[in-house]
């Protein structure tokens, strides 16, 4: 009985040893591939009213994942993106976050696309201590009211340029052109609200009076009533700040009403789909990615911009947009943080905060404990719609 058991045990052990030795050589080779991938979450508005922004963001993230994994991954591990679509709806963002954080156990999250959703996401990621690199522009609520140099959030970062810098650029341009009376019209979304706040706050610094302040809901399609009201106030310039489709209609409807003043748009205008015949001459601040071909080769961003633009356009056959760039910056900063520190949630957070001189598509990022965006007004350049395309305003004067 015992002898038999003993024999069986010995045989089993022998087998195990043989198998183990036999496999050990293969094991070494496979170890690289068998390391579990680094899971990074992403939430974009791939569908819904911000689909024009979210679609390119998703494409970009997938493209970069492919490039990184083809080059052997990060620290010898592949990255695995888990992409969720929030359809631009805040409730969906919250649900997607719960899934990514608690059931997928991602180490960091990119997105969301829209500002309102970004604000919701910031709170959740902060509580769960998961680093979030937001692709949404509104930033106002991320700082305490009293002290704008102190981020309320330790774990939240963002890649789009600051709204305040956008407002500054627009007003600088107004001042240079001698405009003192402007009308503002904004979408009632997180992005539009934040813009409206910034514009109203900054105007007096440039000696500019806001003579009309109108808003419209995300699904607005006929802006004539608001424009009629604005026209009666006789402003010298009209500033529209929104991401919703209406921003593509406003120029045409203003033209129909024979409004001839200069129209400015926010950095949310950076999508070719908004260019219509009537949009000719619209000015807006944007990152240099939009006007890559006009960027001076001596500019530090030149190489990054041209490579990303050609990669994206060859792969997807559509023009690259600013929003695609936001996803590029976000994912690369996370990857760089993993390279610099490790792939734990806190490690990535520390790595992100220590980001210096990262040349991205939106500008050159220098993060610090008090600045989780890392860009300044230099990240913006004035872009003009000319001949049916976006051009660098200075280059085509």
């Amino acid at each position: 009985m015992y002898a038999r058991k003993f024999t069986v045990t010995v045989v089993m052990l022998a087998l195990i040893i043989i198998v183990a030795v036999g496999c050990s050589k293969k094991e070494e080779k496979k170890a690289e591939a068998l390391k579990p991938p680094i899971k990074i979450g992403a939430i974009f508005s791939v569908t819904g009213s911000a689909a024009k922004l979210g679609g390119p963001e998703k494409n970009t993230a997938l493209m970069i994942q492919e490039q990184i994994n083809a080059a052997g991954g990060v620290n010898g591990r592949q990255i695995e993106l888990i992409i969720e679509d929030d359809q631009g709806v805040e409730e969906n963002t919250v649900n997607a976050l719960q899934k990514l954080i608690h059931s997928d156990n991602v180490v960091a999250i990119i997105g969301p696309t829209r500002s309102g959703n970004g604000i919701a996401a910031a709170t959740i990621c902060e509580e769960a201590r998961v680093p979030l690199v937001s692709c949404a522009a509104a930033w106002v609520q991320l700082f305490t009211e009293k002290d704008v140099t102190k981020p309320m959030y330790k774990y939240v970062f963002k890649t789009p340029q600051n709204d305040s810098d956008c407002a500054v650029r627009i007003f600088e341009d107004c001042k240079a052109k001698g405009f003192t009376k402007v009308a503002i019209i904004t979408g009632t979304t997180g992005f539009g609200d934040a813009g409206r706040t910034e514009l109203k706050k900054r105007a007096p610094e440039y000696g500019i009076t806001i003579v009309a302040d109108e808003t419209y809901p995300p699904d607005a399609s006929d802006l004539t009533p608001s424009l009629t009201k604005i026209k009666a106030k006789k402003p010298q310039a009209l500033i529209n700040w929104s991401i919703v489709p209406a921003q593509g209609l406003i120029a045409g409807q203003a033209k129909q009403l024979k409004m001839t003043m200069q129209i400015y748009q926010s950095h949310g205008f950076g999508n070719k789909g908004y260019i219509t015949e009537a949009a000719e001459g619209i000015l807006f601040p944007a990152g240099r990615l939009l006007v890559t071909k006009d960027v001076d080769p001596s500019n530090v961003q030149y190489n990054v911009l041209t490579k990303f633009k050609s990669d994206y356009e060859t792969k997807y056959g559509e023009e690259v947009s600013t929003f695609a760039g936001h996803a590029y910056d976000a994912l690369w900063m996370i990857v760089n943080a993993i390279k610099a520190k490790d792939d734990t949630r806190d490690g990535i957070r520390d790595g992100l905060e220590a980001t210096t001189n990262f040349i991205g598509t939106a500008g050159v990022f220098n993060m610090s404990p008090t600045d989780h965006c890392g860009l300044n007004a230099d990240a913006f350049t004035m872009v003009v719609v000319k001949g049916g395309e976006f051009r660098l305003a200075d280059a085509v004067k």
């Binding site: 569908t47 819904g48 009213s49 689909a51 024009k52 679609g55 009632t188 109108e214 808003t215 419209y216 809901p217 699904d219 399609s221 006929d222 004539t224 009533p225 608001s226 009629t228 009201k229 026209k231 009666a232 489709p245 593509g248 209609l249 045409g252 033209k255 129909q256 009403l257 024979k258 789909g273």
Partner: protein, 296 residues
Amino acid sequence: MGLDSYIQLFFSGITIGSIYAMVALGFLIIYSSTGIINLAQGEFVMLGGMIAVTCYHTFHLPLLLTFVVTVLAVTAIGALFEFTCIHPLKNPSVLGLIMITIAASILMRGIAMFVWGKEEHGIPTFSGDNPIQVMGASVPPQVFWILGVIFTVLVILFYVFKYTLIGKAMRATAANRTAAYLVGINVRKIVLLSFALSAGLGGIAGVLLTPMTLMSFERGTPLALKGFCATVVGGLGNPAGTVIAGLLLGLIESFVTALISSHYKDVIALFILIVVLFIKPSGLFSKSEEAKLKKF
């Protein structure tokens, strides 16, 4: 603001109002013949816009032909929807039917998103973009197209309902299905026809609206909501009242935006709806005795 601004606002309001009125009439026709509220009504408008975009940009049809083909196509979609989803049901409950229309609306939106993508599409205006001056206001020519076509459609509809056999059959079905069936009216056909007609009206609205405001796959739902408001305010069952209510809603939106604040446009429009329903639950233009006989 001077008089010219008021004229401008009037035209803007009457334009969007007439679109609401068309959607509202679509609701009304289907409600009359079946007693259900077809929540896919807005999607017919959206499909009208989208199919027109395809006809114009992909098949390069002239605008007039685009208009005709689109309206016929949407009419066919409406008929198909009735034939496949509503027709086969034995003893359907009203609630069940309404659920089916919600499902159809989601399905149409999904299909439209796959076919046309997520962006906004447009077609050129029917007769250029040079605004016509009306007492100091600049009115886009498309506005006159919208008003003209919709007014024509209304006249034809009223004529059909009042004087033709088929129109009388539809009215009879709306009044009492069983009785209509007993006097030899083919109720099944009338229901099919009402869906086709509603869809066609939506399609017309869609083609007219797209040059002015572009069209995307999710534009239908808000239009359906406003159209439904107009139907209710007009008192379910009164075509003239429904049209007036639609125009009023558009005018209110337009004037509220300019005179009070654009922030409250939708709030005030819907608030007025609630007030109307409090004061006169049967709607502005229908008798309360009639309303008592209705399912809603």
